[in-house]
Symmetry: C2
Subunit: 378 residues, 2 copies
């Protein structure tokens, strides 16, 4: 009988697990939020992942439960574990990914380099942090943010007055996260995968280019990163995965500073946009690896097929959204490009696909990847 | 709206189109023969492909119909075309793939090198062919054979007396195909893809190793084939695809003789076992290419990721059939191998999966691929 993996959430990350599952002979089942989701082809149930009964019923028919996102509430995760379901990653590591203040505190306790930070409960506390950090800082809501949402650069506590109102009104000890504005020279990402029995493997360190808080481009491997930089990034990500007990893929987003320090920016405990290049560019993709890891199967080799791989995100543009009409020109112009689309209705700024190009010369690969993706961005 | 491809037949070839469709953002739908087929994840209908109404109903919701196999009857194919359905490959080229006598005649008419052959209606005609060809020959039933089924090496017409009884009892002008026993030094296969607008692309020529009439191993590219041999193979396959008007993938199986002639053995108008290495080893897999071709989209690049790729079929063995129990040892031993399983119940001799390994040194790659596959063959 085939191994069965249940994925909670029907977005593009669940969708991109499907090809890997089909090839490996794994039975993949998705609990989708509703009809027509990106991963609809594997959706065997629809329902609200906040509802423990819905999730428990879904989990009954699979060998292990994993996730398209990190938003499943802790009480639902605990209920699954109490019912004997293998939940990977488990509630404890997910708690760190679900709350940016918990994450900052945990990484600081582990002695891992992060930006200066504080949990601030009101304008006065934020004002003190600003005064100590040159008058500007980044404020983040601890929960629910992604792709630049829930993130503001502030120079005055009044810039997040609305968030403080929400904090004051919320039950429990709520706060906002404030961080120094790191004068980084570039952003990097290090993905690793860890299985419950402890094996951890790492892909090459990549450089990421963000636009408006959204990942726009990924260069693999990160230029000029061989040696100490790659070693430190890998050690950092392996240590985080191991100390937090992550199972599956862990993506660590990093700032590189002018003096070549690496500071951890964000963590994602699932396949991540910065690892999409591995579908076409690495011996084992992050999606196959995630399935192997959550099933506690031996992990696959992570080497790259070519000296350079570049991934460009395709975002919905202001156009008519008829993607299929763009295929002929794009595919004809760049027959070597790998086009990926997520079955999502294009809306301005929404991630609807990505393009990856491999090659020997980074500059040429960047040019071709951008040109291929540009066929879809208006 | 996503482009929609309908695949008739739910076997492993339909299954392996699913990952390519998911990545490209194509809506793939399968008419499966019944529940639990290999391509069940994409099955939107179940029914008998001999029944025109069943197939017509399935075809109504897709942009193009293609196939997991070549067995859909001509009258059903014609009904689809009359109803305005795009059928790719179409009835005319499929007629050539469906009947080995039609195929031999057509290739001979095109002046393409094939083994000496004849259509024989009775023991006397077969006896004459045997007398002219050293007393031994290969007899094939023109229809329905695959993987060595419907093929016998004979030295006496009595060896196929049962088949002649069936021929005599059948309606219409029936015959058996008899061919010379070609003294080949090895078998090769050349895959190409053609789209309706005429573009044709070719993958590297491969060497195939058959065991008991079933493809066992594929080496890509075929050793010592660069230059004239590869050129002739590619020209031959491109010419066949073009002259017959094939759309989608065409695999041409070839005999190489001691004097380096290439004779066409078989044709397959669909992705083919000898092209499975392209999933992991080529820029565009045969499954992605087939989808692009039948949708009349520009075709993808066919270059290889590594100097050598080796694919080994996994056949069901006499064991308990618990494949999942074999994963840990196999995956741990060869983390760089790509394992593919078709969701099929193992039965002795049944193709249930394949393993592909890439590398620089053919001998080493063959060793690792065989060793990885051997974890599943008992």
């Amino acid at each position: 009988m085939a191994l069965r993996v249940g994925v909670i959430g029907g977005g593009q990350l669940a969708r991109m697990m499907v090809p890997a599952a089909v090839e490996l002979g794994i039975d993949i089942r998705v609990l989708a939020e509703g009809p027509g989701m990106s991963a609809a082809i594997a959706a065997t149930a629809e329902g609200d992942y906040h509802d423990a009964e819905t999730v428990l019923a879904f989990a009954r028919d699979v060998d292990v439960v994993t996730f398209d996102h990190e938003h499943v509430p802790q009480d639902v995760l605990r209920r699954l574990e109490e019912a004997g379901v293998a939940v990977r990653p488990g509630p404890a590591p997910l708690a760190v990914a679900q709350d940016k203040i918990v994450m900052r505190r945990r990484l600081s306790d582990l002695g891992i380099a992060v930006p200066d930070w504080a949990a601030v409960h009101d304008a006065e506390e934020l004002g003190r942090f600003l005064a100590d950090h040159g008058g500007r800082a980044v404020v983040k809501t601890p929960r629910g943010g992604y792709d630049g949402k829930g993130v503001r650069v502030v120079s005055d506590p009044a810039d997040v007055a609305d968030w403080f109102v929400a904090v004051a009104e919320a039950a429990g000890d709520q706060a906002l996260l404030v961080e120094e504005l790191v004068p980084f020279t570039r952003e990097l990402a290090q993905s690793v995968a860890r299985r419950p029995s402890g094996e951890v493997v790492a892909w090459p360190l990549v450089e990421t280019v963000q636009r408006d808080g959204v990942c726009a481009e990924v260069l693999a491997p990160a230029p000029d990163s061989a040696g100490r930089l790659a070693d430190v990034a890998e050690e950092t990500a392996v240590r985080i995965a191991t100390e937090l007990g992550v199972t599956g893929v862990l993506a660590v987003e990093l700032f590189q500073t002018a003096d070549d320090r690496l500071l951890v920016n964000e963590l994602a405990m699932r396949p991540h946009n910065t690892g999409h290049w591995t579908i076409d560019g690495a011996t084992t993709s992050q999606f196959e690896q995630h399935l192997r890891a959550v099933l506690d199967l031996p992990l696959g080799a992570t080497g790259a097929h070519a000296p350079a791989a570049v991934m460009i995100n395709v975002l919905g543009g202001p156009g008519d959204g008829d993607l299929a009409a763009r295929y002929p020109a794009a595919l004809a112009a760049f027959p070597e490009a790998k086009y990926h689309f997520y079955g999502k209705e294009p809306r301005p700024g929404r991630k609807i696909g990505h393009v990856t190009v491999l090659g020997d010369d980074l500059e040429d690969v960047v040019y071709r990847a951008r040109s291929a993706a540009a066929h879809f961005d208006d």
